[in-house]
């Protein structure tokens, strides 16, 4: 069996985190394996030893107050931020570094770039390329990076657009779309690279309330399709319905982790309770 070391033997070592490991679905090799991840910006230590495993096909939602390090951790997973100590593996590949014998080397930019191909990311502010049409946005990386033939990339892009419900917007420019539509295009763009893991960094936080639903619906479909997802969000309802596991972070540490029922309905930690009470 896989060793589910989530939270065990760490500094915080709450009883609940160990219990959570029993609940989490056990798969083959974990998709993400973070071990004692530390990250500081100048004098500010943002991540103070994160241990987390995400199984293949698992949907993990990271909750926590702003400034707790959720987004930073997410950005470390695809090496947009470089960690200071500890390690992150994605599908047994060390992220951002290379081991040779007993020494560890920083990856060259080219190698780091290659690692990001298989990890999709969706941003709070969509970050679509405004000078390209929706279709060109989606085709850009498959054609330019994976060297997929244009007609094939086009077919894939149109299929993905249909999947997110925007088949008729292929030739529109991002500026002509609503926020919810832009975010769905951004999801399609990330999916076009056939990622083995998708990271969502507050995908609905910049949206008008009435547009949140359409994006969450798209994400729900992806989760049902078996995609491994690591989601930072404030949508408690989404976490309850879709997440296999909810991880609560505060002050750069994982405070509590478990099934949605455990963490959301019967939080053991007072900080989790204080945070959740604001949503009720």
């Amino acid at each position: 069996m896989t060793t589910r070391t989530t939270g065990t033997g760490t500094a915080m070592g709450t009883g609940l985190t160990t219990k959570a490991t029993d609940v989490a679905p056990a798969a083959g090799t974990p998709m993400v394996r973070a071990h004692q991840v530390h990250k500081r910006f100048g004098h500010l230590e943002v991540l103070k030893g994160i241990d987390l495993e995400v199984g293949s096909g698992e949907v993990v939602v990271l909750l926590g107050p702003s400034g707790s390090g959720k987004s930073t951790f997410l950005r470390c997973v695809n090496n947009l931020e470089q960690i200071d100590s500890g390690s992150i593996h994605v599908e047994s590949e060390l992220i951002g570094f290379r081991r040779s014998g007993s020494r560890v080397h920083h990856l060259r930019p080219r190698e780091a770039t290659r690692q990001r191909r298989d990890i999709g990311m969706v941003f709070q502010h969509f970050n679509l390329f405004p000078h390209q049409t929706v279709l060109a946005n989606i085709m850009e990386a498959p054609v330019g990076v994976l060297r997929v033939a244009r007609p094939e990339a086009r077919k894939t892009a149109l299929r993905l657009l249909e999947q997110v419900g925007l088949a008729d917007k292929a030739d529109a420019y991002p500026r002509q779309l609503s926020g919810g539509q832009q975010q769905r295009v951004a999801i399609a763009r990330a999916l076009a690279m056939r990622p083995k893991l998708m990271l969502f960094d507050e995908p609905t936080s910049a949206l008008d309330p009435e547009l949140v639903g359409e994006v969450l619906a798209t994400m729900r479909d992806l989760a049902r399709g078996g995609l491994t997802m690591l989601v930072v969000t404030h949508e408690i309802g989404f976490a309850r319905e879709v997440a296999d596991r909810v991880v609560f972070m505060d002050g750069g540490r994982i405070v509590e982790s478990g099934t949605p029922e455990q963490v959301l309905d019967h939080p053991a930690n007072p900080r989790t309770r204080a945070f959740l009470s604001r949503f009720l």
Partner: protein, 357 residues
């Protein structure tokens, strides 16, 4: 009851003074107006603004009149003053000597701008490099070349042989491979190219850097998250967007450069201005020849101006919801009410239909 009405009444009186029926209304006793208007204006229902009298702009008409008089004066001056020698202007305007001068000016502009743009991109990228030494050297370059008047730079390059009699290429502090007399190497043409081009590179570097910084960092992040390399991100994502910030000022740089080439007349390079000067130095037809030069400069800058707007439009794609102004609308000074509201309402209504599906 009697005191409040006068103020709105007097207001309507002065306003309607410009209208013809104003006198009749103004004369009417105040009591008579009561039942007609003020009561109705309180009800929101029965007022129709469709035929409202537009605001008058008497000052606009006054300014038009003043400008008309000034234009008439200018026309009179142009026609009646014999010193313009319009006949001479006409004779020289199409002269072949000027053709050569214009060719020199255009060539100089193109080559100096090419050096400026290529050099500017290199210096800008160097300045934004994480390598501290490289970025400060590039910063120093910009500081140096922007800090010295281009006329002084031109003269300096022209007189380089006084500083460096021989120029050689070889291993630093080691053997030389090629060497030449500076005097034979630095022609007026090369001095002009160096002076204008290196100076332009400093200005272009700032323009390019500003453009690159103007692109949201999220774009770079999104592109790297998709696994795109740094060079590809710059070429496919950042530069095309930065172009929107870079092209308009570059266009005005080209126009400035075209005019700045006239400075090379001091180092005896036969550009447009130098050609005019060399003729009037013989014939003393100073004014007509300067007018010929002016006209040619205006023709060239006008062409550049139109070309620039064309390029600007190209790079404005996707930057606004409105369809861009068409080239011919611009060229013919047409103002068209944008059809954008229609398009905007289309896209605005779209989300509703989609969320339901």
């Amino acid at each position: 009851m009697a005191t409040p009405p006068p103020s709105p009444d007097s207001g309507t009186c002065t306003d309607s003074d410009t209208d013809t029926p104003a006198v009749a209304i103004g004369v009417r006793p105040k009591g008579a107006e009561g039942p007609e208007e003020p009561k109705g204006s309180h009800d929101a229902g029965d007022v129709d603004v469709a035929h409202a009298v537009p605001v008058r702009h008497p000052l606009r008409w006054l300014s038009v009149a003043v400008l008309a008089v000034l234009a008439a004066q200018l026309g009179h001056f142009l026609v009646t003053n014999p010193n313009f020698e319009w006949g001479t202007v006409g004779d020289y305007f199409g002269a072949q000597v000027f053709g050569q001068g214009i060719a020199t000016t255009v060539k100089l502009t193109l080559v100096a701008m090419a050096i400026g743009i290529v050099g500017g991109v290199l210096v800008a990228v160097g300045r934004m490099s994480e390598n501290r030494v490289l970025s400060s050297v590039c910063g120093a370059y910009v500081w140096f070349f922007r800090g010295i008047p281009v006329l002084v730079q031109l003269i300096f390059w022209y007189n380089l042989s006084a500083l460096l009699p021989r120029i050689s290429v070889g291993i630093p502090f080691g053997p030389e491979f090629v060497s030449a007399q500076t005097n034979s190497l630095i022609s007026p043409w090369l001095a002009a190219i160096l002076g204008l081009g290196l100076n332009e590179a400093a200005y272009m570097a700032e323009i390019v850097r500003g453009g690159l910084l103007g692109v949201d960092h999220g774009q770079t992040e999104a592109a790297s998250a998709l696994g795109m390399g740094r060079a590809r991100i710059l070429r496919r994502i950042v530069l095309p967007q930065a172009m929107r910030f870079i092209v308009p000022p570059t266009g005005s740089q080209v126009i400035n450069m075209l005019k700045a080439t006239s400075l090379v007349s001091v180092i005896a390079l036969a550009d447009l201005l130098y050609t005019a000067q060399s003729i009037y130095n013989r014939t003393f037809e100073t004014i007509p020849l300067l007018i010929v030069a002016c006209l040619w400069y205006l023709v060239m800058t006008s062409v550049l101006y139109i070309g620039q707007s064309f390029i600007e439009r190209h790079y404005a794609r996707g930057s606004s919801r409105n369809a861009p102004q068409s080239f011919w609308d611009f060229a013919l000074f047409r103002r068209r009410t944008p059809r954008a509201p229609l398009a905007a309402s289309e896209t605005a209504s779209a989300p509703e239909s989609e969320t339901s599906s």
